[in-house]
Structure formats: structure tokens, C-alpha cells
Symmetry: D2
Subunit: 341 residues, 4 copies
């Protein structure tokens, strides 16, 4: 058994940073060694506006926040980045250059050709890109990215269908939780008693990230993706209504078999059932299904034939766990198992 790895968290006080701390609670392989955020020098417990209904782990609350140049950070085996888009890019690159392995939730590097964009159960073989990255960039460390929350949940369900039936077109409409927008994020005046049919950049992310994740290491998949992303008054959990056209026709029973065939990983944070099926006609529901598999499974239901494209179903996943920090931690576990840390 390997020793416990020391991890750092960038953007530790933000919503994603907090979710990293939750996902690392009592983790057998990772221990938190550095919390990076503005207001360095202050104890984490004073700075973070903790959003969960469990208390901050005491050991974490007492940690002093450090800045990105702190020696504490140099010493870690792995960095999880919860930095916001645009801010994240240069900081992550600089850390990777200096020798750190950085797993990032930010969008900035996701689409670079030599940077893996990982949904562990879906395309872990894309980690092979790290060799390419090393050759190209000559960095001591590396950057690994995980997908946008919506795309992560979506591709979990697409992968087994694509493998067996070849997907050609995807139309997806999402109903996304407010926690996806960070904190303070969405004003209550905007979202209460309302649906907002637009989330900046989200539809494009669905399109291009899906193609990269479902593609080979060096070429995106040739799949048309049309997405409309909406925000609904829900705290956590994204619902997605998916319609698919496949090269080979897929029946309902075949689709169910395919969904159930997606292989679980044998890692600490990996859900035993990556895709869970619900047979009740009114499931999955966001509030009732988002915590399936500790928030790491996605839940599929309402599988139907549709006359427009071919197959239609509904999926719910937890945006800040499966589609967020939980997936990044799972990616870290995968890397640790492959001796990439």
C-alpha cells in the first residue's frame, strides 16, 4: 500500500474548494496540506462561508490559508484547482511548469490537445496524453482537467450507448442547479419562481467537451451536439433531457443493458453503480436522486423511443460532486493507482 499523498486546494474558500474539502473528508489516500485562497494568513474556518449542513472538519477549519507561492504548496503531491475560469489558466500552468500535478475543474485548459479532459469511468485512457504533454511542454508537472458539470453527467450516459450503437446526433435540454454558478452566483431575485433559459458558455462547453471526451486520444468524436441549458430554482443537482440519434438503432431494452454495462472503477470515491436506472415513471427527480452513490452515480429514467431522433431519456447527477470536486478527486485516485503522482 502506498503512503498517504499530500494535496493542495486552489480556490479553497469558494464553492468548489469547499466541495473538495467535503469530498476529501476522511479520505484514506489524500490528506489536505495546503489551502490556497485570497486572505492568506487567516484561518480557513474564518474565511470560508461554509455552505454545508455539516460543520467544517476541525482540522481544516484551523488550517491557515496560504498563497500560491507558499512553500506549503511546493511540498504537495497533487493540487486540486477550484479556481474560477480565466483566473485559473496561468496559475495552473505556472504550477505545472514548476513540477506540480494539477487536476483542474476550470475550463481554461480543457480543450488544449495535449491536456487530458477526464471523466474517469468514460475515458481514463486519455491520461495517456500526459506523455504527449510532457514531450510538448517540457514541464516538470502536468495539468489534467475534468469536465464541465453538465458534460460530465451527460457523457457518463452517452459512453455505453456510443460504444455499442455509435451516436451521431445529440439534443439535450438541461435544468441546472444554482450551485453550478458558484457563490454568490445567482441572485435570489433572479431565480425565485423563475426559469432562466441561458447559462453563459454552457451550451458550447457541452458541444466541444462531449466530442473530446467521447473521441480518441487524438481526435474528437464526430457527433453533433445541440444543447439548451436552463437554470431552475434547485439547490444542487442537474437534470438533463437527452435525445439521441444512433447509427445502429437502439431499443429500450438494449439501452438499459448498455447503461448497466458501464464499468465501475475500484477506487475509493468510485460509485459501485456509475449509472443507476429507475423504473418509476416520475424518476429520476433532482432532489431525490442527486445523492445516489454518494453523489457520484448518475440516475437515468424515462427511457423512451422518440420519433424525432430515436432514443430519449432523462438523467440526474450531482453537479458539485459527480460533475465537480468528487470527480476530480476520483481522477486523483485513478492517477495515484497508475503511479502518475
Amino acid at each position: 500500500m502506498n503512503e498517504v499523498k499530500r494535496v493542495g486546494i486552489l480556490g479553497a474558500a469558494g464553492l468548489i474548494g469547499q466541495q473538495f474539502i467535503q469530498s476529501l473528508r476522511d479520505h484514506p489516500q489524500f490528506e489536505i496540506a495546503a489551502l490556497v485562497d485570497v486572505r492568506a494568513g487567516e484561518p480557513y474556518g474564518k474565511v470560508a462561508r461554509w455552505r454545508f449542513d455539516t460543520q467544517i472538519p476541525e482540522s481544516v477549519a484551523d488550517l491557515t490559508i496560504c498563497d500560491v507561492n507558499s512553500p506549503l504548496l511546493k511540498d504537495v503531491d497533487l493540487v486540486f484547482s477550484g479556481l474560477p475560469g480565466d483566473v485559473a489558466g496561468p496559475i495552473e500552468a505556472e504550477l505545472a511548469r514548476k513540477g506540480l500535478m494539477v487536476i483542474s475543474k476550470a475550463k481554461d485548459h480543457r480543450l488544449e490537445r495535449d491536456i487530458p479532459l477526464i471523466v474517469p469511468e468514460v475515458n481514463h485512457e486519455h491520461l495517456d496524453l500526459l506523455k504527449v504533454q510532457k514531450d510538448l511542454r517540457n514541464w516538470q508537472g502536468a495539468i489534467i482537467t475534468t469536465a464541465n458539470c453538465t458534460t460530465s453527467i451527460l457523457t457518463m450516459t452517452l459512453k455505453p450507448i456510443h460504444d455499442e450503437f455509435r451516436i451521431k446526433k445529440i439534443s439535450v435540454v438541461t435544468m441546472q442547479a444554482i450551485s453550478g454558478a458558484g457563490y454568490p452566483g445567482v441572485s435570489s431575485l433572479d431565480i425565485m419562481d423563475n426559469v432562466i433559459p441561458y447559462i453563459g458558455g454552457e451550451e458550447e462547453k457541452c458541444r466541444v467537451e462531449t466530442r473530446k471526451i467521447l473521441g480518441g486520444v487524438d481526435s474528437p468524436a464526430s457527433i453533433d451536439v445541440s444543447a439548451t441549458c436552463t437554470r431552475v430554482p434547485v439547490l444542487d443537482g442537474h437534470m438533463e433531457v437527452v435525445s439521441l440519434q444512433t447509427q445502429n438503432e437502439v431499443g429500450i431494452a438494449e439501452a438499459k443493458n448498455a447503461f448497466l454495462s458501464l464499468k465501475p472503477l475500484t477506487l475509493h470515491s468510485a460509485p459501485k453503480h456509475p449509472i443507476v436506472l429507475r423504473e418509476q415513471e416520475d424518476r429520476p427527480q433532482t432532489r431525490l436522486d442527486r445523492y445516489e452513490g454518494n453523489g457520484m452515480s448518475v440516475v437515468v429514467g424515462r427511457i423512451q423511443k422518440d420519433t424525432c431522433l430515436g432514443l430519449r431519456y432523462v438523467v440526474v447527477g450531482h453537479n458539485t460532486i459527480r460533475g465537480g470536486a468528487g470527480e476530480a478527486v476520483l481522477t486523483g485516485e485513478l492517477m495515484e493507482k497508475r503511479n502518475l503522482l
Copy 2:
């Protein structure tokens, strides 16, 4: 100018009944003469659990509820039925047989071939079916139905596109308000912080009613409709994300022109602009746009090309006004103008 017509309301204390009373407030052509519900004999103001933030009109509050056999009802020129599905069918038929003109919001008779299913701006010519109905049934009166809320809002936007570009396939995902389920309807425990991806019967209604409305008087349109209907925590207003495949390709500018070409009716309740376009990228929004045109317009935005079907847009309409009592009242006005009352 014609004299004021006397109207009766079936199911007057229910949610649709209350909306009828709202839509008839200060109406220049219709006056409420009979309120039918259970608890006949009691004053309406005591029975109705009034849901609006304006008070019940005093003249209505003081009216005594009557039952369906009351002489008060025999005397009216027009009946609006807000009865629930399955209950409505035989009662409406009996009243029509006896000579009353019944405009119904209930699903029961919508699909019968000689009964018009009307969205006034879309297919008012279907009122010609009344002659057929008379011949077939030999009733003194008649039944006229209006569409399911979701279908009503949807077909408003489909009509001008279909006329010009011939729609072949429609995929629609809805986010529907709780008021669509009546009272007490959806339990707060079910819908708070949640999305429920199922509304019993709704998707089938979208499919068959759309075909009837967009078709000719005697034959439904050959259009494939796939719908997924969800319930979201919103009080009033349905949002629909629509994707279309048309026989003749339609560009964004052409779609806008088509939407703006839908003709307004010159009737008291008719909105000046049946379809209103919003250019902002985050509109239409349910809470902000549902009252456009006093709740009788539908608001369209986010018109885009999509790679799956062809055209994609978002529409918001008020489910209990445009998709409910308001539309039935408008249908009554239309009939009055055509001397059908």
C-alpha cells in the same frame, strides 16, 4: 353592438374556475350569471379558496353557487367549463344536448372528430366543425374545446413556421408551473428544491392535440411530436424548449419574420402581439415574461439553428391565461363575433 351575453361557469370554485372569473373581470360582452360547483346554495366568496392577490370581485363573491340543474344555468348564452377531466365529459355533453354552447378546458372531448379544438389565432376556421357536429349529434347546443396549456402555447409558435416551411418533426421539453396541476395539486414536499420529469398524460396530449390543431378541419397534420414534460418549482407560466425539422429550411431571420407574422385578432381579450420576440440572450424567462399581453401573448427567444433538427427556440406562455381560461374566453369572443352564440 350586440347585447351583453350571460355566461355560466362550471367548476367555478376550482383553479380554472377562478381564472375564468379573473378573465371575465369587467368584460364588456360577457356577464357572469351562474356559478356551478359543489356546495350549491352557499355564497361563492365563502366556498372558493381564492388564490389571487386581488380580491374576488364583490358581485361574484355574493353570488350563490348553483348546481348543474339550476334554472340559472339554463338561461345562459354560453358556458365555460373548468371541470376536471373525466368528470367533465358527460356533464358537458348533457348540457350541449339540452341546448347550451359549452366551451371546455377539459380534455374529454378534445379529440372527437366533430368537436373543434381551438387556439383562436391558430385555427379559428375549425369552428366550421360546429356544423358537422350539429348534423352528427343533433344537439341543440354544442361543445367547443380549447387546448391543453402546453399545446396551446406551443402551437401559437408552430403555426406561422408550419404555414411557411412545413414542419415535419418537433421535439419539445417543457418546464411547467405548479398551477397547471390544479388545487391542491402538487404537494410542496414533492416540488420544493426539485424537478419532476413527468406529468401524467401531458406528453401524449402535446402529440395528438398539436396534430389536430395544425391540421385541416378534417385531418390531423402529419407531424411527429416528441415531448418530455417536467414540473418545476414555479407558480405560473410554462417554458418550452422547442426543436423543429422543417421541409423547407428556415433561417433565424426567416423564423423571426414568421413569428411576427402571426395575426392578432381584434377581440377584447386578444393580445395585440400574439407572439412577442425578445432579443436578450437570457429571455424569455418564466417570471418576467408570463404576463406579456396580459398573459395572452407568448414570448419567444433564443432562436438558433440546431444541428440535430434544424431550428431551436424557447417560448414562455401563461398556462392559466393563454393556456387556460383566457384562451377559452377569447374563443367565446370569437364565437360571439361570428354569431355562433
Copy 3:
């Protein structure tokens, strides 16, 4: 009849500013002549993130925003200030010094002894302070303030009880709407499925403003006020649960008579019934009662004897109309009638 007065609005694009525009819609005596906010030079319609479900009046949307030194502002008869606290103070003082009459919703000047703090139906005689203000400050114009939303709604109900029974102690617990916090204000992540039992500064405002408003022109009332102010997931409308101890005992019937005795003003925005009583045991309710009297009435119910203090009741009022811009506009009408403009 007097000519129409020209008014300016400070902080026009903010939530209070928008409410001023709503409250001035089709106003017979006031016309909007200057909209002041940051982003001067741009059309109002582009700058304001309009929160209402009616459109911005077209004439207003096309107005160009100006800055506080614009000649447009010099020319007005009256300024409504919707500036945020702390920002408002010096700007309002400067405008008053230069000759403008400024009615402010901001807290900054409320407690100054020569500045009237007005709830029109309650203490319009406090406008006499303007003479004192003129003497003391030697300004060409003047500042008039209106009360904090919670206090405004509260004192409406206290006034008639105090006049007849002399209030000694007040305990109030509020459930306040999110619109009271401005925009973006309360994060949806903070308030959804939650109650927050704290609103910065609010409890102290209740205490001191109530004493000033119910006191004489030159001395606050000797009333103990204890308040706990909470934020609840409601868009508009504050509910307050009030317990009172009075010098002379007050029965339930006497309390009702007192509430009904509060005199309406004969002004355009004044509600016909400043206090409306509801007899149903589950009223007033925030959503159902906030728009009573176009949002300018307060609605009282659940009047009971209590064994702790003496009298207990519940009141609901609209925080951005009665407790906000609507009350400021009413104050302007009052001043116009008294030839103070």
C-alpha cells in the same frame, strides 16, 4: 389645479429606482425628467436590469441616464433618492444645499433631528420640521426621509393604537422578502430552503425610527422596541408578528376599531384603506395580501390577546411599495398639496 412637477430619480437603475419608475407610471402630477445613475450617457432601457413582469415604460426606456451634475437634474422640482445607504448621505446633502427638494429612501439622514422622517398617514405633521431645517442649515432645498420598510409597515399599525391606548413596549418578529436587500442582494444559495435570522442594522432601525415617527416633532416617543428580523424565501412583502403592551388595556374589538380609524389621505397614491383587516384565521399571507391597495395598504389579521404583553397581531405590507418607493411618492404628493415643492 397645479402644473405637472418634474422629478429626478437618483439610483434610477437599482431596485428602488425601478420601483420609483413603477410608482410614477401614468402619474397625474409628476413626470420623470432626469434619471441619475452610473453609466451616464447610456439609454436607461439598456442599463437597468428590469425586474418587473411589465415592460419599462417606453418613454423611460429611451431616456438617457445622466450624472448627478447634469443640468437636467438642476431643473427638477423634486428628487427621489434610491441611493444606497452611506453613498446617499453626502450627495443628497449637496443637492439640498443647492436648492433641490430631496425625498430619500436611504437611511443616512433619517435620524437627524431637523430632518423629517415621514410615513404620510402616520406623522405628516413632521413636515413642519422643514422650517427648522431651513433655519438651521440655510439650504436652498431640503431633505425629507421616509422610513425603513419594516418600520413603515409597523408604524402604520402602531399609530392608531398608540393614539388611543399609549404603547409602552413592542416586540416584533419579522419575515422579510429578499427584494428588501436590493440587487443582486441575497444569493439564492443563501436563502433557498432557508430562513436567515439576521438583517444587518434592521433591528436597530426598527427601534429608533419607530420612536421618532411615533413621537412629537421634537422628541421621540418613549416606547421600548425589541425586534428580531429574519429573511425568508419570498420575493416581495414583509410579514411582522407584533406584540404590544399598552398603558390602557386594549381589547380585540377596540383594536379593530382603532386599526380601522387610521385616516386615509386624499392623494393620488394613497390607499383608500390604509389598514385592511382580514378575519380569516390564516391571513394575512404574504403573497396574497401584499398588493392590497396597490401595495399601499397594510393588511392586519390574527388579532389576539396575549398573556405576555397584552395584544398580538400579524401585519403584511409590500416592502418596495408601501415600505419603499410608493411611500416616497406619496410623500411627494403630500408636499405638493401643501405647496412645499
Copy 4:
């Protein structure tokens, strides 16, 4: 160590029944042996509309629901009753007469003088009433009741203050969760974007139950209680704003010490800290604090002197755990420890 006790649950499919099953999950001393509800003969998993975001324990889902006369029920050591008020009374009495120990959440028997009304940390000595009950009723079994949710949370905080400072008057205003009303309970149309200032019977329960719980075994405490109970759009967790008058003056520091002095029980479900204090000015919050101590602690904050009564604070507790099934299970553990089962 004692053997595991077999328990039955009345009203097992309802909201309280489901919470019993949650509170008994992996319980070391109690195993579920009988689930009683209507639709006897069907598997529990098919009947219960499970409201939690964890799945029904498999062993429970497969249990067949039985009726109240089933031999399964005769065989249990303890019955938890989640029956609704009025229904519960005679059924519980009959079971107790026949020899069962019944711990009830229903209101029906709470106020009978020989029936203990227990909040375990507050008045466990009231279990002595079981001897009186036996003498009076000559039943083989017995009935033990637990308090109304609001009262349970309230008396946890009152007890230590009362012991040290003698409470004379209490004024409480509550903001209660929708789950308190059962399922389907509160219509979403009633509570969304709203506060309802009335919950049938709740205020009277607060008054009389508080007096019984804080009193001696044979006489209620002489405390005046005035309560206003409101329903807010929150899923779980009641907030209560409490004002107290005590015989001996109590300062803030003394109050804190008193709160912290309430002794924990050494039982499986007992929280380590029955009362948790929060020092942040905006806590306790319903959503953030309701799960403290697995939902069995109550969280107190905003402790202040008030000029009306004397002391003022805010408390949050979980209504269906501390104020519900969790407290009944804790009472069962207490009885087991005292060899009362």
C-alpha cells in the same frame, strides 16, 4: 448487554413512519418487525412514497405491510406510533390495553394526566407516571407520548433557563417547515413565495405541552406562553424566535452557560451536545443548522437582552428528527435502559 428489541411502526408509510424507519436504520438495539398501515399485504417498498434522498433500506422495502390486528404486531417489544391525530387515540389505547408499550407522536393522549409527555433530556423523570398509569388503567401495556415538534425544540432550550432562573412568561414566534404538515400536506400553490401565519392547533399545543413538560410529574408549570406559528417555504427544520421573562434576571453569559449545561444522555440516538451555540450573528439558519447532531441537537444563537421581556434568542431544530421520530426513538432507548420494555 440486552438482546435486540423488536419494534412495530404504526402509520409506517406516512411521513412520520418513514422518519421512524430512517431513525432506526442500523440501530443497535431495535429491529423493525412489523410495519402497520393501510394496504396491508403489499410490500412496503411499493406502498411508501419514499421522500428521502437515500433509498429505503432493502430489508424494509421487502417487508409486507400488516394491519393492526396482525400477529406480527403482538410479538413486538415496542410500538412507535406515527398515526395522525384523532385516528391514533383509540388504536393506541387498544394496543396498550392488550399489553403493548406504545410511544406515540400523536397529540391524542399527550395531555392525559397519567400519560407521560417526554422530551428525554428535559423531563425523563416523567416516565414515573407509568406506575400511575398502570394503577389507574389496569392496562398490560402503556402509552408514552412525545411532544409536538415545536414544543420539543422549544422546551430543550427552556429547561436549563427555567431550572436556574424560573421562567414566568414566554413569547414565541415560529417559522415552520412544510414537512411538519405530513404528506401531501401543504399545497405548493399555498406556500411558494409565501408565509402563512397560522398552523391549526399548534399555538395551543405550544402553550399546554410546554407547561406539562416543564412542570412536575403531577402539576404543570405556571408559565404563560404566547405563540404565533407560521409556515414558511422550507422543507425541514423549524426556527423559533423566543422571548422570555424570568423571575431572576438572566444575563447573556449566564444564558449561554445555562444552555450548555443541559446534560446529554448516554444513549445511541442522543446528541453529544443537546444544545449547540452559534456565535455568528446570522446563525442559526434553518438549512445550515437543522442536521446538527444528526438532527437531534437544537442550535441556539442571537442571544440578546430585550427590553420587553428580558431575554431573546433564536433556536433551530429538525422537526421530523428532534421534534419527531428521532425523539420517539430516543425515548424508546431511554425506556430500554430503564428496563421499562
